[in-house]
C-alpha cells in the first residue's frame, strides 16, 4: 500500500467527517471543504490506481485490496459526476461513508499481487470488470440517494422538524428521479458486465454459465434491479418503494462482493 493510497484514505476520512458535520450545520464552507478534501483524495487515489495499473499491466482489480479500492474509486467518480450535474452538496454526507468504508476494508484486505492465471489473461478482464464496477457504483449511489429519500420522506410525513436537514435535502421528486436515473444507468452496464462475463467464461473455461456462487448472486442482483425498473414502468412503483428496493439491491451486491470473498469459493476466487 503506497503513500498515495494512504493519503487518499485519510482525505476521504476527513471528507466523511465533514459530511457528518454537514448533517447538522448549514454552512457552505463545510460543503466546499468536504468537496475539496474528497477531490484531493480522489486525485491521489487515481494516481495510486494508475501506478498499480502500470506495474501489473492490466486493470488493478486482481486481489481483494485492489478490487475494493477500485470500487471505491468508481463511487467517488460517479459522485462527482452527480455533484457536477445536480449540485447537491448534502449528498456527500450520505455517499462518502460508502466510499470510505470500502477504502478502509481495502486497506485491511490482502494486497499481494499474484500473477494472473494464464486462462484469465484476456482483454475481457478489463471490459468485464470495468462495466461491473461502474454498474455497482451506480447502484451504490442509487442506494445512497434512496436513503436520502427515506430521510426526507420521514420529515415530510412526520410534519415536524421541518427545518435544518429538511431544508438542505432536495425535494422528494428530485431524489426519486436521481435514484431512477442511476438505476437506468447501472442496469445496462450491469447487463453488459454479465454478458461479457459469460463470453469470458466461455473463452477461459469453455462454458458460459456454471452456477458459480458469484454468478448466482449476480443474477439475483440483476433480477432485483430488473424488477425495480419493471415495477416502476408498469405499476408505478416509485418513491418510497423504489428507494427501499434500491437499498436492498445494493445490500445484495455487498453480500455478493464481500460475503463471497470471505468464503473464497468458485471461479471468482481471485476477486
Amino acid at each position: 500500500m503506497e503513500i498515495t493510497f494512504q493519503l487518499s484514505l485519510i482525505l476521504y476520512f476527513g471528507a466523511m467527517v465533514l459530511g457528518f458535520l454537514e448533517l447538522f450545520r448549514n454552512s457552505k464552507a463545510i460543503t466546499w471543504t468536504m468537496l475539496a478534501l474528497l477531490g484531493a483524495g480522489f486525485g491521489l487515489h487515481t494516481v495510486s490506481i494508475m501506478i498499480s495499473y502500470f506495474m501489473a499491466g492490466h486493470l488493478p482489480i486482481t486481489n481483494p485490496h485492489e478490487a475494493t479500492s477500485f470500487f471505491a474509486w468508481c463511487i467517488v467518480f460517479l459522485f462527482f459526476v452527480l455533484e457536477y450535474r445536480y449540485k447537491i452538496g448534502i449528498m456527500g454526507s450520505f455517499i462518502i461513508p460508502f466510499a470510505f468504508a470500502l477504502m478502509l476494508s481495502s486497506a485491511l484486505l490482502p494486497m499481494e499481487v499474484k500473477p494472473l492465471a494464464p486462462v484469465l489473461q484476456s482483454s475481457w478482464l478489463g471490459v468485464h470488470t470495468f462495466f461491473a464496477f461502474l454498474a455497482n457504483a451506480s447502484f451504490a449511489l442509487a442506494a445512497g440517494i434512496g436513503i436520502m429519500y427515506l430521510v426526507q420522506e420521514h420529515y415530510v410525513k412526520g410534519k415536524k422538524h421541518l427545518a435544518g436537514l429538511f431544508q438542505r435535502l432536495p425535494s422528494l421528486q428530485s431524489l426519486d428521479e436521481i435514484n431512477y436515473r442511476l438505476i437506468t444507468i447501472g442496469f445496462p452496464l450491469f447487463t453488459v458486465a454479465m454478458i461479457t462475463g459469460m463470453l469470458w467464461a466461455d473463452t477461459a473455461w469453455g462454458s458460459y454459465w456454471s452456477w458459480d456462487p458469484r454468478e448466482v448472486w449476480s443474477l439475483i442482483t440483476w433480477l432485483i434491479f430488473a424488477i425495480i425498473l419493471h415495477a416502476r414502468m408498469v405499476a408505478g412503483w416509485r418513491g418510497r418503494r423504489a428507494a427501499v428496493l434500491s437499498i436492498l439491491g445494493f445490500v445484495t451486491i455487498i453480500v455478493a462482493f464481500g460475503g463471497l470473498k470471505l468464503l473464497q469459493t468458485g471461479q471468482h476466487v481471485f476477486l
Binding site: K159, Q173, G236, G239
Partner: protein, 422 residues
Amino acid sequence: MRVLVAGLNHKSADVEVREKLAFGGEKLGAGLHGLKAVDGLREAVIISTCNRVELYTSVDEPDSASKNIMAFLGSFHGIQAGPLEKALYFHKDRDAVRHIFRVASSLDSMVLGEPQILGQLKAAFDFSLKNKATGVLMNKLLKKAISVAKRVRTETRIAESAVSISFAAVELAKKIFSDLSDKSVLLLGAGEMAELAAMHLKSSGVREIVVANRTYERGCELARNFTGRAVRFEEFPHEMLSSDIIVCSTGASDYVIKKSHMHHIMKGRKQRPIFMIDISVPRNIDPGIDGLDNIYLYDVDDLQGVVDANMGGRKKEAQKAEAIVAEEVEVFERWLASLQSVPAIVALRQRAEDIKNQELLKVINRVRLDEKERKAVEYMAAAIVNKLMHPPTAALKEDVEDRDNLIAIIQKLYGLNGDTNG
C-alpha cells in the same frame, strides 16, 4: 452631530394613531421638507410603513431636537401633544444606531424576519437622498444598516422558513416536487385561506389552477382570478388524476375524499406523488389517506404546527442576529467618534497653514531671494509645519476614550477658537 431616532411602531401605538402619523404619498415630500426646517436638525430620513413611522435624524443636541420634532409632528399631522407623547419613543446616539440596525434586520418587525422592511428602508433612504435631506452621517448610517441587514440575512436563518400557513404550504410543495412549473393545482371549494394558498402557489409558478366549486358560477369567477379553468364539482375525482396539488376547503361536514377513492386515484396516477392540503374545518379529507405511499396530506393543524416551529426557529436565529447587530454598532460608533475630530483636525491644519503663509510672506518681502532660494525657504517652512502638526493630527485620529477632552486641549493649546464641534 448626533444620531436621533423618533418614532412609533406596532408596539407603541395602535393602528388609529399610526395611520394619523403616517407619511403616505404626497405627505412624505412635504413632511421631509418640514422636518428639514426643524431647528437643530441637520439630516433626516422618514420611513413610513403600516407598522411603523420613524424619523432618522442627525441633530446638534438630541434633547432640544426631540422637543422640536415632537412639536413639528403635532402641527404637521394636527395631533395633540398628549396622545403624541404617549405613542412616540426617542433613541439617541448608540441606542439610535442599534435601533436602526435592528429595524433594517427585521428584528423589530411584527413578524420577526419578514423581508419587506429592508426594501421600505431603502426606498425611504433613496427618497431623502433625492431630496438632499441626508449628509455624511445619515448616508453612512443607512448604508451600514442595509449591509448589516444583508449580513444578518446571510449569516442567520432568520428569514429562511415560512411563518404563514399559505407560505408553509408552498414551501412544502417545493420539498415534495422538484419543479412547480409543470405542476397543476386543484382548488376544491373556495375558502379564503384556500384562495390565499392557491395564490401563493400561482406566484411560485405552478402551471395551472383548476377550480371545482359547488356553485359553478362562483368557481368560474375564481378561475378567472387565477387565469385558470373551472370544472363542475362532480368532476373533481377525474381532475385528481392529473392534478399534483389539491387544496381543499369545501365547508362540507364530512369527508369529501375518502381513503377508498384515493387507492383508485393513485392507481390511475401511476403512483405519481400528490400533495393534499386540507384547510377545511371540519376536515374534508380522510386523515387515514396520509398513510398511503406518495400521498402527502397536511391539514390546518399540521400547517399551523409547521408555522409555530418555524417561528420558534426564527426566535433562536434572532439571538444570533442581535449579536451581529451589537458588533456592527460598535464598528459604527468608532467611525462616528473619529468623525467628531475631523473639524478639529481641519481647523488645526488651517491654523498652521495660515501662520506658515504669513511668515513666508514676511521673509520674502524683507529679503531678496532668487528662485532657487525662495523654493528652499518655502520647502523648509512646509516641512517644519508638517512635522510639528503630525503628532497632534495622529492623536486626534486615534481611537481614544476621552476624545472630547483631547479636542478641547488641542483647541486651547493651538488657540483654535470658533466652531470646531461640528
